[in-house]
Structure formats: structure tokens, C-alpha cells
Amino acid sequence: KKLSSATSDNNRQVIAVIPKGTASMWWEVVHKGAAQAARELGYDIIWTGPEQESDREKQIQAVEDVMAKHVVGIVLGPNDFQALVRPVEKVKEAGIPCVIIDSAVGGSEDNYASFAATDNHAGGAAAARRIGAVLNGRGNVIITKFIQNSASTDARAAGFIETLGDEFPNMVIVDQQFTLGTPEDCRQKTADMLLRNRDKVDGLFAVNHPSSVGAFKALDGLGLTGRVKMVGFDSDKVLVEGIEAGKVEALIVQNPFEIGYQGVQLVVKAINGQSVAKRVPIPSMIADRDSIERLKREHPTALGL
């Protein structure tokens, strides 16, 4: 039985939002969405989590720590599929409603109220179709992946690989590398893949923001932009300029603001005992030469501008 609920100075109830990692522009937009929803609904939020997305133990500790603070609800972007299972169970045992955002978590679905995330698999599939179309269904492709065992980027890669295999039988994935997650390492690994398969690479898929930036820079550095068709995931100014200059074929962009916003909306519903859908897909968008102007007007945050 709870002693008291955490309340802020103005006696509003507190919801904890725990990102995969605080050190990212992307999660900062999620933060904005969450804050917006909280404002609209009359709650305060605590924004806390590991700074590194690869730091599982810190995220487990963050969950334990916010539980000790008696928050009324938790919105969690788990940075590991397995490691966060037990903490989520403990949250459930403590009777605190929990909404998972962005990446899936293992264990029973009953442990949390809802799961709101970009349909990563579908995003990867969209990237595959784009590359397939622009290369007319034939050619060699490389993938610049993120760190190992990150559910969302793994799902994108899987969606890409499966779709390419199913729908474009004449296309080959000649190389794919995991990275350390920094733009610099993504750049080096991509450059090495391009050098290794010299003059053979026609397409490139990068699975998230650092890998897209790194891959783009590698292409640019080797003078291969345009010749190698690149489809990235996530966006920022450099990549948007790349689209405008015809150096980047397309970017699959998510809507992090919407993810944060929905996460808090859903957890408040759960706190109030309303029924919520178990799975809430957040659609992603395709940014390319045709859509870029419109997206810059309507969704600048989604483009990282």
C-alpha cells in the first residue's frame, strides 16, 4: 500500500517518462510531446533515464528510483527487450500503470497498459520498396546498422531484409555491419563496407539517425552520393539538405513528438481506469524530394529541424 503519491509544488500528480537515453535529439522531441500532453491533462512529468541508450543497468535503476518516488504512472522507452522485463513486472506489482513507447519489451503483455511505437518493421519495408523501385529491382545493397540487440533498429533492418528478399529477388545485400552507435563509427564502418565492395554497391540503408548521418558522410567523403542510392531512417539538417541536393534518395521519418504525446495520453487513460488499446502504431512518413517542402512546413520537428 502506497504511503503517499508524489506531488509537485502545485499539487499535481506526477508521471515518470523514462527514455532509452537522454542524450539524443530524438528523445528530446519525445520529451516535448510528453510535456505537451501532460500540460493538457494537468499532470507533471519527471524526465529521467540513462544518458547512454546502451546502458541497461542505469535504466533499470531509473525505474526503481521513480517507483520509490511514488509516481502515478510510468511511460517507458525500454532500451533492452529482455533486461527491462523484470522492472516492468515490478511496476505492475506495485500497481502503477505503465505504457511502453518506441521499443518493445519482453515478458507478458499484461504487465503494461499499452505499447505505442512507430511501426518499425513497416518502416524498414517502406525503405526496401523505395530502394527496390529506384534501382529497378536489381543491384547490391549494404546496411549500416546500429548497436546490437536494439529492438527498434533490429525491426527496421528485419523489415528491410525480408521485404527486399520477398519483393525484389534480384537484389542482394552484400554487406551489413553493426556499429558502436556514434556517427563517427557509423561513418567509418560504412566507408569500410563501401571500400570492401568497391564499385559494386548500388543502394544503402541506414537504420537510424547516427547511422544515417554517418553513412551519408561516408558516401559524401568517397564521392559516391547519387551513385549509391541511400535511404535513411530519421532526419536532421544535413540529411534534409542531402535530399534537396539529390544526394539522399529518401528518409523514413518517425514522429517522436506524437510518440511522447500518445505515451502520456495513454498512461493517463490507464490511470483513470479507461480501457486502452494494447498496441498503438504511430505512423512514419517518407521524406523525399517531392514531400520535403511540405514536411518542412508541417512537421519540422519530425525532420529534426
Binding site: 504511503l3 503517499s4 537522454t22 519527471i46 524526465w47 529521467t48 533515464g49 540513462p50 544518458e51 547512454q52 546502451s54 546502458d55 541497461r56 543497468e57 542505469k58 533499470i60 535503476q61 531509473a62 526503481e64 528510483d65 520509490a68 518516488k69 511514488h70 533492452d80 529482455q82 533486461a83 522485463v85 523484470r86 519482453g106 515478458g107 546490437q148 540487440n149 553493426f178
Partner: protein, 326 residues
């Protein structure tokens, strides 16, 4: 008197931190759940720090403990799955497999032995080839990380039945706490009251003297690195149990936390000085500091700054106290 003062200081810091949080966030800090939580999450660090204390007293260092923990966890979990009769496909598929008690015990043993073995290799390289501990364990760090990622292609092993070292209890006391107390008591005794402990200090203080006095320096050092490895193996199993799975990247950068705790506790990186009590205090200091900062709503980023400052402050205070006493 002098010695007493030396241990008083980290102890006072601990008391200070404790009082500070009790005063600032009494409702959240001073609860059984929270304190238990801090202790149980510190247990992994404490066990590893116990071994590191020996290493640092010999003027050595072991940078590989973090990634070694990841590797031992993976090895132990794999053993559990194999001993429970899981096939290769089942294991790499990551599906959940029923684990037998025997398999789990076996897995823990395998993890501890793996740690002792690779730790022993570290020690052998350091002594036989006369390489600097820093560089040997730096190399080992990379090798262990690579190996644990290779074991299941970067994926973790799920061992959700293995709750023994997380929630398991004997006579109401968590098993992990029993193990922790046992480890600290034994290592503390060895360091303070046995020949082996004396030799540890002597090697760190002046390795030539120890050698001239007939101490089998190589054997002592290899034992110390193997002991540290074994303790890492044990800690790995606690982490695995807490996460219901063995993560190939578990223990990321943990070595720095451990080393910081040991040094805050009064071990000198130059060797020859330190104690187990100091290490315990140093580790708990970091644990409570992190916990309290989070409870106060201090962001992770400020926490990093605070912890860095505390590390420097702690050794500064220690240094000043030592100088005054001298």
C-alpha cells in the same frame, strides 16, 4: 590512531551523505524498499570491488572486470540452457526454456570458473611476460567484449527461471545478500589476517623486497587476478538473475565505477595501501550518492557531474587527512 583516522574519513562521508538524503528526501530515502534496493544493486559492485581491492593493493589494475562480467554471464547462462537440455536452435532463438535447479547451480559454477580461468590468464600474462596490468587487462577487455557478443550473435540469453540470486531467499534473507556477506567476510579476513594478505601488501609496496624475502610473487599475483575473476563470475550471475537474462554488453564501463569505489575507499593506485572496510564504504558511498541524487530529482547529467566531483573531493580529503596525520 593514524590508521583509524584514515578510515574515519570515508566513513564520515558516508554518514554525511546518508544524513543529507534523510534530511532532504526523508519519505523516499528512508524506506525499507529503497534502502534494500540500494544495497542489492550495490551488491554486484561490492563483490567485484572486493577482488579489485587485492589487485589495486598490489599496485595492479584490472580494466577487464566490466566486460568479463558480460562474458561470464553469457557463459553461465549458456551453460544453464545446455544443462537443461536445450538445443542449439532453441538457444539462439531466444525462446524461453525451463531450467532445472541443477542446471542453474551448474551455470553459476561455470560462470565463476570462467571468471577464475580468464582472470588467471590475465595474471599469468602479467607475471610470466612481465606486462603492465593496465595493458593486459585493456586487451582482455576488448577480447571479452568480442567473445560475449560472438556467443549468441550479439543477442542475450533469456534465463527467466533463474530468480535465485534476485528474489531467492533463505530463512528470509536474500541469497544474494548471504553471498555478499560471505564474500566480504572472507576476503576481508584474508586481506587483514593471513599471510596471503601480507604478501599482497608487500608486493604492492615493493615487489623486489617481496621477491627477495622469498614470496612467490607470481603465484600470489596469479591467484589475485583469478580470485577477482571468480568474484566477477559470481557478480555476473547476480546481474543475470536481476535482468532475467545474460546480456553480452552487461558491465559496460563498470570497471571505472569499481576502481573509483576502491580508490575512494583509501586504496592507493601506487599500491601497498587500502582495506576491505574502506572498499565497502567507498562502494556504498557511490551507491547512496546516485540513489539520493535521483530521489531529489537531480537529472542524470547533473549526477555525472556530482559523482565526478565527489570522487575528486573524496581523494582530496583523504590526501589532506593523510598529510596532516603524517
Amino acid at each position: 590512531m593514524n590508521k583509524f583516522a584514515k578510515q574515519l574519513l570515508p566513513f564520515c562521508s558516508l554518514i554525511f551523505i546518508f544524513s543529507l538524503w534523510t534530511f532532504l528526501v526523508p519519505n523516499e530515502f528512508l524506506t525499507v524498499t529503497n534502502l534494500t534496493n540500494v544495497f542489492s544493486r550495490s551488491s554486484v559492485n561490492l563483490i567485484m570491488a572486493a577482488g579489485m581491492t587485492f589487485v589495486i593493493i598490489t599496485a595492479g589494475i584490472d580494466l577487464s572486470v566490466g566486460t568479463m562480467m558480460g562474458m561470464c554471464g553469457m557463459t553461465g547462462a549458456l551453460a544453464m540452457l545446455r544443462f537443461s537440455g536445450a538445443g542449439t536452435d532453441q538457444i539462439s532463438g531466444g525462446g524461453s526454456i525451463e531450467l532445472t535447479t541443477a542446471a542453474m547451480t551448474g551455470g553459476v559454477l561455470v560462470s565463476v570458473l570462467t571468471g577464475a580461468f580468464v582472470g588467471g590468464i590475465n595474471g599469468a600474462l602479467i607475471t610470466r611476460l612481465k606486462l603492465a596490468p593496465f595493458i593486459v587487462t585493456l586487451g582482455a577487455m576488448s577480447i571479452f567484449r568480442g567473445s560475449s557478443l560472438l556467443m549468441n550473435n550479439g543477442k542475450p540469453f533469456a534465463v527467466s527461471d533463474f530468480t535465485l540470486l534476485d528474489t531467492g531467499r533463505v530463512a528470509g534473507v536474500p541469497v544474494s545478500v548471504i553471498l555478499l556477506v560471505l564474500v566480504l567476510a572472507v576476503t576481508g579476513f584474508v586481506l587483514k589476517y593471513t599471510r596471503f594478505g601480507r604478501y599482497t601488501y608487500a608486493i604492492g609496496s615493493n615487489v623486489d623486497t617481496a621477491f627477495h624475502a622469498g614470496v612467490n610473487v607470481n603465484r600470489v599475483l596469479v591467484s589475485i587476478y583469478a580470485l577477482t575473476g571468480a568474484l566477477v563470475g559470481l557478480a555476473a550471475m547476480i546481474t543475470t538473475s536481476r535482468a532475467s537474462s545474460a546480456q553480452p554488453t552487461a558491465g559496460l564501463a563498470l570497471e571505472l565505477d569499481i576502481i573509483a569505489a576502491v580508490i575512494i575507499g583509501g586504496c592507493s593506485p601506487g599500491g601497498g595501501r587500502g582495506s576491505m572496510v574502506g572498499t565497502i564504504i567507498g562502494t556504498l558511498l557511490i551507491g547512496f550518492l546516485r540513489n539520493g541524487l535521483t530521489l531529489c530529482g537531480i537529472s542524470t547529467n547533473w549526477q555525472l557531474v556530482a559523482i565526478g566531483l565527489i570522487i575528486i573531493l573524496a581523494v582530496t580529503a583523504d590526501q589532506i587527512a593523510t598529510r596532516r596525520a603524517a
